[in-house]
Symmetry: C2
Subunit: 157 residues, 2 copies
DNA sequence: GACTTTTTGTAGCCTAGGCTACATTTTAAG
DNA sequence: CTTAAAATGTAGCCTAGGCTACAAAAAGTC
Protein backbone atom coordinates (compact mmCIF):
# COMPACT_ATOMS: atom_id res chain seq x y z
CA UNK A 1 0.00 0.00 0.00
CA UNK A 2 2.47 2.63 1.17
CA UNK A 3 4.35 3.52 -1.97
CA UNK A 4 7.91 2.42 -1.41
CA UNK A 5 10.28 5.32 -2.09
CA UNK A 6 11.04 3.33 -5.21
CA UNK A 7 13.97 1.43 -6.53
CA UNK A 8 15.11 4.34 -8.61
CA UNK A 9 18.82 4.48 -7.93
CA UNK A 10 19.21 7.97 -9.34
CA UNK A 11 16.93 10.19 -7.28
CA UNK A 12 16.23 9.48 -3.65
CA UNK A 13 12.95 10.78 -2.22
CA UNK A 14 10.93 11.02 -5.40
CA UNK A 15 7.70 9.08 -5.90
CA UNK A 16 7.19 7.40 -9.22
CA UNK A 17 5.83 9.75 -11.82
CA UNK A 18 2.70 7.67 -12.23
CA UNK A 19 1.83 7.96 -8.55
CA UNK A 20 2.19 11.73 -8.60
CA UNK A 21 0.00 11.95 -11.64
CA UNK A 22 -2.56 9.59 -10.13
CA UNK A 23 -2.71 11.76 -7.04
CA UNK A 24 -3.52 14.79 -9.22
CA UNK A 25 -6.41 13.03 -10.86
CA UNK A 26 -7.69 11.71 -7.57
CA UNK A 27 -7.73 15.18 -6.11
CA UNK A 28 -9.62 16.53 -9.10
CA UNK A 29 -12.17 13.76 -8.78
CA UNK A 30 -12.77 14.39 -5.11
CA UNK A 31 -13.14 18.12 -5.74
CA UNK A 32 -15.76 17.32 -8.32
CA UNK A 33 -17.65 15.17 -5.83
CA UNK A 34 -18.20 18.12 -3.51
CA UNK A 35 -18.89 20.67 -6.23
CA UNK A 36 -22.62 20.09 -6.26
CA UNK A 37 -22.91 20.39 -2.49
CA UNK A 38 -20.91 23.61 -2.53
CA UNK A 39 -23.14 25.19 -5.12
CA UNK A 40 -26.24 24.21 -3.18
CA UNK A 41 -25.12 25.64 0.14
CA UNK A 42 -23.96 28.85 -1.49
CA UNK A 43 -27.27 29.24 -3.28
CA UNK A 44 -29.33 28.38 -0.23
CA UNK A 45 -27.38 30.88 1.80
CA UNK A 46 -27.98 33.53 -0.84
CA UNK A 47 -31.70 32.85 -0.85
CA UNK A 48 -31.90 32.91 2.93
CA UNK A 49 -29.94 36.13 3.11
CA UNK A 50 -31.97 37.98 0.51
CA UNK A 51 -35.52 36.75 0.43
CA UNK A 52 -35.61 35.01 3.74
CA UNK A 53 -36.68 31.65 2.37
CA UNK A 54 -34.99 28.87 0.43
CA UNK A 55 -37.71 26.77 -1.14
CA UNK A 56 -36.93 23.64 -3.13
CA UNK A 57 -38.65 25.02 -6.21
CA UNK A 58 -36.58 28.20 -6.15
CA UNK A 59 -33.41 26.24 -5.65
CA UNK A 60 -34.27 23.97 -8.56
CA UNK A 61 -35.07 26.88 -10.87
CA UNK A 62 -31.85 28.68 -10.02
CA UNK A 63 -29.78 25.57 -10.58
CA UNK A 64 -31.54 24.60 -13.77
CA UNK A 65 -32.65 21.19 -12.54
CA UNK A 66 -36.03 19.66 -11.80
CA UNK A 67 -37.47 20.00 -8.32
CA UNK A 68 -37.18 16.25 -7.87
CA UNK A 69 -33.45 16.46 -8.38
CA UNK A 70 -33.14 19.41 -6.04
CA UNK A 71 -35.06 17.64 -3.30
CA UNK A 72 -32.90 14.58 -3.66
CA UNK A 73 -29.72 16.60 -3.32
CA UNK A 74 -31.16 18.50 -0.38
CA UNK A 75 -31.66 15.12 1.25
CA UNK A 76 -27.96 14.51 0.76
CA UNK A 77 -27.13 17.91 2.27
CA UNK A 78 -29.12 16.91 5.34
CA UNK A 79 -27.45 13.54 5.51
CA UNK A 80 -24.04 15.25 5.43
CA UNK A 81 -25.01 17.63 8.19
CA UNK A 82 -25.02 20.75 6.07
CA UNK A 83 -28.73 21.55 6.00
CA UNK A 84 -32.03 20.93 7.71
CA UNK A 85 -35.62 21.06 6.55
CA UNK A 86 -39.08 20.06 7.62
CA UNK A 87 -42.01 19.05 5.50
CA UNK A 88 -43.32 21.92 3.40
CA UNK A 89 -41.04 24.39 5.14
CA UNK A 90 -38.02 25.75 3.37
CA UNK A 91 -34.43 24.60 3.66
CA UNK A 92 -32.02 25.94 6.27
CA UNK A 93 -28.30 25.60 6.81
CA UNK A 94 -26.59 24.15 9.84
CA UNK A 95 -23.65 26.10 11.29
CA UNK A 96 -21.40 23.82 9.24
CA UNK A 97 -23.42 24.50 6.14
CA UNK A 98 -23.33 28.23 6.75
CA UNK A 99 -19.60 28.17 7.30
CA UNK A 100 -19.12 26.25 4.07
CA UNK A 101 -21.35 28.71 2.24
CA UNK A 102 -19.25 31.62 3.42
CA UNK A 103 -16.02 30.01 2.32
CA UNK A 104 -17.49 29.00 -1.02
CA UNK A 105 -18.81 32.49 -1.67
CA UNK A 106 -15.51 34.12 -0.82
CA UNK A 107 -13.71 31.71 -3.11
CA UNK A 108 -16.19 32.33 -5.91
CA UNK A 109 -15.63 36.07 -5.71
CA UNK A 110 -11.88 35.75 -5.56
CA UNK A 111 -11.85 33.54 -8.64
CA UNK A 112 -14.02 35.97 -10.55
CA UNK A 113 -11.84 38.88 -9.49
CA UNK A 114 -8.70 37.11 -10.58
CA UNK A 115 -10.16 36.19 -13.95
CA UNK A 116 -11.21 39.81 -14.45
CA UNK A 117 -7.77 40.99 -13.39
CA UNK A 118 -6.02 38.95 -16.06
CA UNK A 119 -8.37 40.25 -18.71
CA UNK A 120 -11.26 37.81 -18.92
CA UNK A 121 -14.50 39.60 -19.86
CA UNK A 122 -16.99 39.89 -17.03
CA UNK A 123 -19.71 37.61 -18.38
CA UNK A 124 -17.17 34.95 -19.24
CA UNK A 125 -15.50 35.27 -15.86
CA UNK A 126 -18.76 34.62 -14.06
CA UNK A 127 -19.53 31.69 -16.32
CA UNK A 128 -16.17 29.99 -16.01
CA UNK A 129 -15.82 30.69 -12.31
CA UNK A 130 -18.83 28.56 -11.55
CA UNK A 131 -16.87 25.50 -12.55
CA UNK A 132 -13.33 26.61 -11.76
CA UNK A 133 -14.03 27.59 -8.17
CA UNK A 134 -14.36 24.01 -7.02
CA UNK A 135 -10.82 23.17 -8.04
CA UNK A 136 -8.88 26.08 -6.59
CA UNK A 137 -6.88 25.15 -3.51
CA UNK A 138 -6.34 27.39 -0.52
CA UNK A 139 -2.74 27.93 -1.51
CA UNK A 140 -3.80 29.13 -4.93
CA UNK A 141 -6.46 31.33 -3.35
CA UNK A 142 -3.84 33.02 -1.21
CA UNK A 143 -1.76 33.60 -4.30
CA UNK A 144 -4.77 35.11 -6.04
CA UNK A 145 -5.41 37.48 -3.16
CA UNK A 146 -1.80 38.57 -3.06
CA UNK A 147 -1.74 39.10 -6.80
CA UNK A 148 -4.86 41.24 -6.68
CA UNK A 149 -3.48 43.31 -3.83
CA UNK A 150 -0.25 43.97 -5.68
CA UNK A 151 -2.06 44.85 -8.86
CA UNK A 152 -4.15 47.38 -6.97
CA UNK A 153 -1.03 48.97 -5.58
CA UNK A 154 0.43 49.23 -9.05
CA UNK A 155 -2.64 51.09 -10.32
CA UNK A 156 -3.29 53.19 -7.22
CA UNK A 157 0.08 54.76 -6.54
CA UNK B 1 -39.74 26.56 -23.72
CA UNK B 2 -38.40 29.78 -25.23
CA UNK B 3 -37.89 32.09 -22.31
CA UNK B 4 -40.16 35.01 -22.90
CA UNK B 5 -38.16 38.25 -22.77
CA UNK B 6 -39.88 38.67 -19.44
CA UNK B 7 -42.49 40.94 -18.02
CA UNK B 8 -39.89 43.15 -16.42
CA UNK B 9 -41.05 46.63 -17.32
CA UNK B 10 -37.73 48.22 -16.39
CA UNK B 11 -35.11 46.55 -18.58
CA UNK B 12 -35.91 45.28 -22.03
CA UNK B 13 -33.73 42.42 -23.32
CA UNK B 14 -32.64 40.97 -20.00
CA UNK B 15 -33.38 37.38 -19.06
CA UNK B 16 -34.59 36.72 -15.55
CA UNK B 17 -31.74 36.44 -13.09
CA UNK B 18 -32.64 32.87 -12.29
CA UNK B 19 -32.34 31.79 -15.91
CA UNK B 20 -28.91 33.35 -16.23
CA UNK B 21 -27.78 31.64 -13.09
CA UNK B 22 -29.25 28.32 -14.21
CA UNK B 23 -27.35 28.60 -17.47
CA UNK B 24 -24.10 29.01 -15.54
CA UNK B 25 -24.69 25.88 -13.54
CA UNK B 26 -25.74 23.94 -16.62
CA UNK B 27 -22.56 24.90 -18.39
CA UNK B 28 -20.44 23.83 -15.42
CA UNK B 29 -22.26 20.50 -15.32
CA UNK B 30 -21.69 19.81 -18.98
CA UNK B 31 -18.02 20.71 -18.68
CA UNK B 32 -17.76 18.22 -15.88
CA UNK B 33 -19.32 15.51 -18.04
CA UNK B 34 -16.49 15.74 -20.56
CA UNK B 35 -13.69 16.16 -18.02
CA UNK B 36 -13.00 12.45 -17.71
CA UNK B 37 -12.87 11.93 -21.46
CA UNK B 38 -10.50 14.86 -21.85
CA UNK B 39 -8.10 13.50 -19.27
CA UNK B 40 -8.13 10.09 -20.90
CA UNK B 41 -7.36 11.30 -24.41
CA UNK B 42 -4.62 13.57 -23.16
CA UNK B 43 -3.04 10.75 -21.19
CA UNK B 44 -3.37 8.24 -24.02
CA UNK B 45 -1.79 10.69 -26.39
CA UNK B 46 1.08 11.22 -23.96
CA UNK B 47 1.66 7.49 -23.64
CA UNK B 48 1.54 6.97 -27.39
CA UNK B 49 3.92 9.85 -28.00
CA UNK B 50 6.50 8.77 -25.44
CA UNK B 51 6.52 5.03 -25.01
CA UNK B 52 4.69 4.09 -28.15
CA UNK B 53 1.95 2.13 -26.40
CA UNK B 54 -1.10 3.00 -24.34
CA UNK B 55 -2.07 -0.10 -22.39
CA UNK B 56 -5.16 -0.17 -20.20
CA UNK B 57 -3.10 -1.06 -17.15
CA UNK B 58 -0.78 1.90 -17.63
CA UNK B 59 -3.70 4.22 -18.17
CA UNK B 60 -5.37 2.94 -15.03
CA UNK B 61 -2.23 3.33 -12.93
CA UNK B 62 -1.63 6.88 -14.14
CA UNK B 63 -5.22 7.87 -13.45
CA UNK B 64 -5.34 6.18 -10.07
CA UNK B 65 -8.27 3.92 -10.93
CA UNK B 66 -8.62 0.17 -11.32
CA UNK B 67 -8.05 -1.39 -14.70
CA UNK B 68 -11.72 -2.37 -14.83
CA UNK B 69 -12.73 1.26 -14.57
CA UNK B 70 -10.19 2.29 -17.19
CA UNK B 71 -11.40 -0.34 -19.62
CA UNK B 72 -14.98 0.75 -19.13
CA UNK B 73 -14.14 4.36 -19.86
CA UNK B 74 -12.06 3.34 -22.86
CA UNK B 75 -15.20 1.65 -24.13
CA UNK B 76 -16.94 4.97 -23.83
CA UNK B 77 -14.12 6.71 -25.68
CA UNK B 78 -14.60 4.24 -28.52
CA UNK B 79 -18.32 4.71 -28.49
CA UNK B 80 -17.83 8.46 -28.80
CA UNK B 81 -15.45 8.06 -31.70
CA UNK B 82 -12.37 9.27 -29.87
CA UNK B 83 -10.39 6.04 -29.62
CA UNK B 84 -10.00 2.58 -31.04
CA UNK B 85 -8.61 -0.65 -29.65
CA UNK B 86 -8.47 -4.31 -30.40
CA UNK B 87 -8.38 -7.22 -27.97
CA UNK B 88 -5.14 -7.32 -26.03
CA UNK B 89 -3.62 -4.58 -28.15
CA UNK B 90 -3.23 -1.12 -26.75
CA UNK B 91 -5.50 1.87 -27.19
CA UNK B 92 -5.19 4.32 -30.07
CA UNK B 93 -6.76 7.66 -30.83
CA UNK B 94 -8.88 8.54 -33.81
CA UNK B 95 -8.12 11.79 -35.61
CA UNK B 96 -10.88 13.37 -33.53
CA UNK B 97 -9.36 11.97 -30.35
CA UNK B 98 -5.93 13.19 -31.32
CA UNK B 99 -7.23 16.64 -32.11
CA UNK B 100 -9.00 16.78 -28.77
CA UNK B 101 -5.84 15.64 -27.01
CA UNK B 102 -3.86 18.45 -28.59
CA UNK B 103 -6.38 21.07 -27.57
CA UNK B 104 -6.63 19.66 -24.07
CA UNK B 105 -2.87 19.60 -23.64
CA UNK B 106 -2.47 23.15 -24.86
CA UNK B 107 -5.18 24.29 -22.48
CA UNK B 108 -3.61 22.42 -19.60
CA UNK B 109 -0.27 24.12 -20.16
CA UNK B 110 -1.81 27.53 -20.54
CA UNK B 111 -3.72 27.14 -17.29
CA UNK B 112 -0.59 26.04 -15.46
CA UNK B 113 1.37 28.92 -16.92
CA UNK B 114 -1.26 31.42 -15.88
CA UNK B 115 -1.43 30.06 -12.36
CA UNK B 116 2.35 30.26 -12.12
CA UNK B 117 2.29 33.80 -13.51
CA UNK B 118 -0.04 35.04 -10.79
CA UNK B 119 2.12 33.49 -8.12
CA UNK B 120 0.79 30.00 -7.49
CA UNK B 121 3.60 27.60 -6.52
CA UNK B 122 4.49 25.09 -9.20
CA UNK B 123 3.33 21.91 -7.45
CA UNK B 124 0.05 23.55 -6.54
CA UNK B 125 -0.42 24.91 -10.03
CA UNK B 126 -0.08 21.46 -11.54
CA UNK B 127 -2.44 20.00 -8.98
CA UNK B 128 -5.17 22.60 -9.35
CA UNK B 129 -4.87 22.82 -13.12
CA UNK B 130 -5.93 19.21 -13.49
CA UNK B 131 -9.40 20.19 -12.34
CA UNK B 132 -9.56 23.80 -13.45
CA UNK B 133 -8.64 23.14 -17.07
CA UNK B 134 -11.98 21.55 -17.86
CA UNK B 135 -13.86 24.72 -17.00
CA UNK B 136 -11.86 27.35 -18.83
CA UNK B 137 -13.59 28.66 -21.94
CA UNK B 138 -11.84 29.61 -25.14
CA UNK B 139 -12.45 33.27 -24.45
CA UNK B 140 -10.74 32.97 -21.10
CA UNK B 141 -7.91 31.02 -22.69
CA UNK B 142 -7.32 33.83 -25.14
CA UNK B 143 -7.25 36.27 -22.26
CA UNK B 144 -4.74 34.07 -20.46
CA UNK B 145 -2.47 33.96 -23.51
CA UNK B 146 -2.63 37.70 -23.94
CA UNK B 147 -1.90 38.28 -20.28
CA UNK B 148 1.13 36.01 -20.40
CA UNK B 149 2.45 37.69 -23.51
CA UNK B 150 2.15 41.12 -21.93
CA UNK B 151 3.77 39.99 -18.75
CA UNK B 152 6.72 38.65 -20.71
CA UNK B 153 7.15 41.99 -22.46
CA UNK B 154 7.14 43.75 -19.11
CA UNK B 155 9.95 41.56 -17.81
CA UNK B 156 11.99 41.33 -21.03
CA UNK B 157 12.36 44.94 -22.08
C1' DG C 1 -66.42 26.41 0.73
C1' DA C 2 -65.29 24.47 -3.63
C1' DC C 3 -62.09 24.32 -7.11
C1' DT C 4 -57.68 25.21 -9.40
C1' DT C 5 -52.91 25.98 -9.37
C1' DT C 6 -48.54 25.64 -7.32
C1' DT C 7 -45.48 23.45 -4.45
C1' DT C 8 -43.62 19.58 -2.41
C1' DG C 9 -42.73 14.91 -1.98
C1' DT C 10 -42.09 10.00 -3.69
C1' DA C 11 -41.14 6.23 -6.89
C1' DG C 12 -38.78 4.43 -10.46
C1' DC C 13 -35.69 4.77 -14.40
C1' DC C 14 -31.19 6.03 -16.64
C1' DT C 15 -26.09 7.00 -17.26
C1' DA C 16 -21.45 7.79 -15.61
C1' DG C 17 -17.89 6.24 -13.21
C1' DG C 18 -16.17 4.19 -9.21
C1' DC C 19 -15.30 -0.66 -7.09
C1' DT C 20 -14.41 -6.11 -6.33
C1' DA C 21 -14.36 -10.73 -7.95
C1' DC C 22 -13.67 -13.88 -11.33
C1' DA C 23 -12.33 -15.61 -16.12
C1' DT C 24 -9.43 -15.56 -19.86
C1' DT C 25 -5.44 -14.52 -22.53
C1' DT C 26 -0.80 -13.22 -23.15
C1' DT C 27 3.77 -12.95 -21.61
C1' DA C 28 7.74 -14.38 -18.97
C1' DA C 29 10.51 -17.98 -16.50
C1' DG C 30 12.42 -22.29 -15.98
C1' DC D 1 6.99 -27.23 -23.22
C1' DT D 2 5.12 -26.30 -18.86
C1' DT D 3 3.99 -23.36 -15.66
C1' DA D 4 3.67 -18.99 -13.07
C1' DA D 5 2.77 -14.16 -13.43
C1' DA D 6 0.86 -10.28 -15.49
C1' DA D 7 -2.40 -8.10 -18.35
C1' DT D 8 -6.88 -7.85 -20.09
C1' DG D 9 -11.59 -8.48 -20.17
C1' DT D 10 -16.33 -9.38 -18.08
C1' DA D 11 -19.96 -9.41 -14.60
C1' DG D 12 -22.20 -7.43 -11.09
C1' DC D 13 -22.60 -4.06 -7.38
C1' DC D 14 -22.74 0.79 -5.58
C1' DT D 15 -23.44 5.96 -5.38
C1' DA D 16 -24.34 10.43 -7.40
C1' DG D 17 -27.13 13.08 -9.91
C1' DG D 18 -29.89 13.64 -13.77
C1' DC D 19 -34.91 12.73 -15.49
C1' DT D 20 -40.38 11.77 -15.83
C1' DA D 21 -44.64 10.46 -13.81
C1' DC D 22 -47.63 10.33 -10.23
C1' DA D 23 -49.51 11.66 -5.44
C1' DA D 24 -50.39 14.65 -1.80
C1' DA D 25 -50.40 19.01 0.45
C1' DA D 26 -50.59 24.08 0.56
C1' DA D 27 -51.91 28.25 -1.31
C1' DG D 28 -54.86 31.13 -4.35
C1' DT D 29 -59.30 32.18 -6.72
C1' DC D 30 -63.93 32.79 -7.23
MN1 LIG E 1 -19.91 26.33 -8.81
MN1 LIG F 1 -20.31 29.55 -7.15
MN1 LIG G 1 -7.86 17.24 -15.92
MN1 LIG H 1 -4.80 17.74 -17.84
Amino acid sequence: MTAKPAATPQSSVELPVEAVQARRFEKARSAQATAVLEDYVELIDDLLASGGEARPTDIARRLGVTHATAIKTITRLKREGLATSKLYRGVFLTPEGHGLADRVRARHRLVVDLLRAVGVPEQCAELDAEGIEHHVSDVALDAFALFLKRQLKRQDP
